[in-house]
Symmetry: C2
Subunit: 116 residues, 2 copies
DNA sequence: AATACATATGAACAATCGCTCATATGAAAG
DNA sequence: CTTTCATATGAGCGATTGTTCATATGTATT
């Protein structure tokens, strides 16, 4: 391997520069990983698929998915914190809905990958 | 709430049907969650960004990211298992590269979501 | 005020995860 | 065959995760 000025033994200097240019910053990387972690659980994915069809209250989602109100509520807090869902109160009931269209795009891309 | 024939108290029967139609099967949901779990770690994301620029050997990646060979190798096995990277051997060295273009699309979609 | 219904939340637990360390495998060079 | 370099792998660990259980908060009804 030719002479290097960067101290890297296994990587070309030019490659190091190119990688450093496109590599997102520490905070962006963290946020990106946090986002994908959200999608990395089938309960949360199922909740999102439910909300594709209709706004729904917490115990509605729980009924539909056959899970406890508590489990669903905990996961909805996770989705809320990540700004993937929003909610509105109507009396005693709280209706959750999708925050934006990116959610669907990301899930669709993932589905494309696994079904090929 | 009006009379239901499905036994659901909080959800309209029609909504139940619509959700059941679009909801992926158990195995698809599992695979989808598994896929996104892979993207849910910043070390793996950084490896993928490196491979966007160039095929690279294990210790090249380790050098570039300032991590141990072992840590990188373990993560490459995860990425390999998920068919996100492929590899070729050249003598003692093994070069890893991206398996397909979906990887980039998925990361780009995620990046779009967090930078808005 | 008291009750009932809808939701949120904190503690606890088993399960999983990412890294380190030590060691094993594999290929080339001497 | 022995050494060296590149990579893989298994055990062990501290940290994080998803669920359950019990309980708290919040709203409407009586």
């Amino acid at each position: 391997m030719e002479q290097q000025t960067t101290g890297y033994i296994h990587v070309h200097e030019e490659t190091v520069h190119r990688v450093n240019e496109i590599m997102p910053g520490e905070e962006e990387l963290f946020d990106l990983a946090e986002l994908f972690k959200i999608f990395g659980d089938s309960t949360r994915i199922r909740i999102l698929y439910v909300l594709f069809e209709s706004d729904m209250c917490v115990c509605g989602i729980a009924e539909l998915l056959g899970m406890t109100q508590s489990a669903i509520s905990h996961q909805l807090q996770v989705l809320k914190k990540a700004k993937l869902v929003k909610y509105r109160r109507e009396g005693k009931t709280i209706f959750y809905s999708l925050a934006d269209g990116h959610v669907r795009t990301i899930l669709d891309q993932g589905m494309e990958h696994i079904t090929e």
